[in-house]
């Protein structure tokens, strides 16, 4: 149990996927313009992460022992089909959200966070339950980063900043400061 709590907080806060590993930067900068959209994008990511994690575990235990060189190809196919599924569900249930997420919804497929999670999980030899907790933690971490970023960006819309700095350059500086702030959590689990 203690181990699971450690995995969860490690993935979500201490080693935040976006701010410490630079995974999932495209949606982090792409859909963080609005608070509401950012939050729902985070939720969609959590869903895809959990399904990917369980599929990756099954694939890795039963299939890939026979053919390790197929790891990358099989993972990316699982992710692509999961994203297709999520896309269909969201399109059916909430067309407005579907429009708001736009191109970034199918791009979850090429979100490094998803494939990164599957690869990390296999490298660290997590069990099934550990993998699921890891996926939820990573997804929560992504959502936290997205929401904080969106909140700051909404506020800076009206701020007076040098014209050249506005846009991408400033977003990177904000992200750098956020990343700096998240480094402060590093001592949270000092014994392990």
């Amino acid at each position: 149990m203690e181990n699971l709590i450690y995995i969860f907080f490690s993935a979500s806060i201490i080693n935040n996927f976006t701010l410490a590993y630079f995974l999932g930067l495209c949606p982090f900068f792409g859909v963080s313009g609005k608070l509401d959209t950012a939050f729902r994008m985070g939720l969609a990511n959590i869903f895809v992460l959990v399904i990917t994690s369980s599929c990756a575990f099954v694939l890795n235990t039963y299939l890939l022992t026979a053919a390790p060189y197929l790891k990358l190809i099989s993972f990316i196919f699982v992710i692509a089909s999961t994203v297709q599924l999520v896309e269909m569900i969201i399109k059916k249930m909430s067309p407005a959200l579907f429009k708001a997420l736009g191109i970034f919804l199918p791009l979850i497929t090429t979100n490094c966070a998803i494939l990164g999670l599957a690869l990390f999980q296999v490298n660290r030899e997590y069990s099934f339950i550990e993998g699921i907790v890891f996926a939820i933690g990573a997804g929560v971490g992504l959502t936290i980063a997205l929401v904080i970023m969106a909140g700051i960006r909404v506020d800076t819309e009206l701020a007076k900043v040098p014209k050249l700095l506005k846009g991408v350059a400033m977003n990177f500086l904000i992200a750098g400061m956020l990343s700096l702030a998240f480094m402060g959590f590093a001592g949270l689990f000092s014994s392990t």
Partner: protein
């Protein structure tokens, strides 16, 4: 067909500077920041991406008339994943140290938006020679960007370049630059420099030399 060579050159050069994937289009950011804590890692990552982009552009543009539209993305990813697997195993055999330093990020080349983006927007619509020129230019621009980020971070954060110390013993390394926040700061500063330079060139073209120097013109 007389403009063939000039077009080849155009496609080659545009990726290096005018449409630089990292600085201008902000594509492929994950590897651009994650592995660039030293110059050599940046170059290695750039070279690996170069190989994958070149190979997959070649195949996608050769097969562009055969691939059915509805399943094209999956097929592109399959082609890309094959090349990435080749690079992954190749690096592990030839340069095990670099392979260890780059870690999972070699496999993550599959999900580099730059590569899929070039297949979808260029290689699937253009003949082989133009696609290859585009791939070389884009991958070159990517490598250039990664080397710049890696170089800046290594100099500031470690006081060395390619492992050779640059400053005397009194240099206090700015450790934060090789940690994650440094990546964001460096890239932010480089993008800022790029857009500043562009603005300057444009101002010079429009013959208004005194416009750029005042601080007021910078503030919206």
């Amino acid at each position: 067909m007389s403009n063939q060579p000039s077009r080849f050159n155009d496609e080659l050069v545009k990726g290096l500077w005018k449409e630089n994937p990292v600085f201008v289009s902000a594509l492929g950011l994950c590897p651009a920041l994650a592995v660039t804590n030293s110059l050599i890692n940046g170059i290695a990552m750039g070279a690996a991406t170069f190989f994958v982009l070149f190979g997959s552009s070649l195949f996608v543009s050769l097969l562009r008339n055969i691939i059915p539209k509805p399943v094209r993305i999956s097929l592109y990813i399959l082609i890309i994943a094959t090349f990435v697997t080749v690079v992954d195993f190749g690096l592990a055999a030839v340069l095990p140290e670099i392979h260890k330093a780059l870690g999972a990020f070699i496999s993550l080349i599959v999900v580099n938006c730059l590569i899929l983006g070039r297949q979808e927007s260029f290689a699937s619509k253009n003949p082989v020679s133009a696609s290859l020129a585009d791939a070389i230019g884009m991958a070159g621009g990517f490598t250039l960007a990664l080397s710049m980020i890696g170089g800046v971070r290594e100099i500031l954060g470690n006081g060395s370049l390619l492992g050779y110390p640059l400053f005397g013993d009194n240099f206090e390394p700015w450790v934060i630059m090789i940690l994650p926040p440094g990546g964001f700061f460096t890239l932010g500063a480089l993008i800022f420099t790029f857009s500043w330079y562009k603005q300057r060139v444009e101002n010079k073209k429009s013959d208004s030399p005194d416009q750029e120097t005042t601080f007021e013109s910078w503030v919206v």
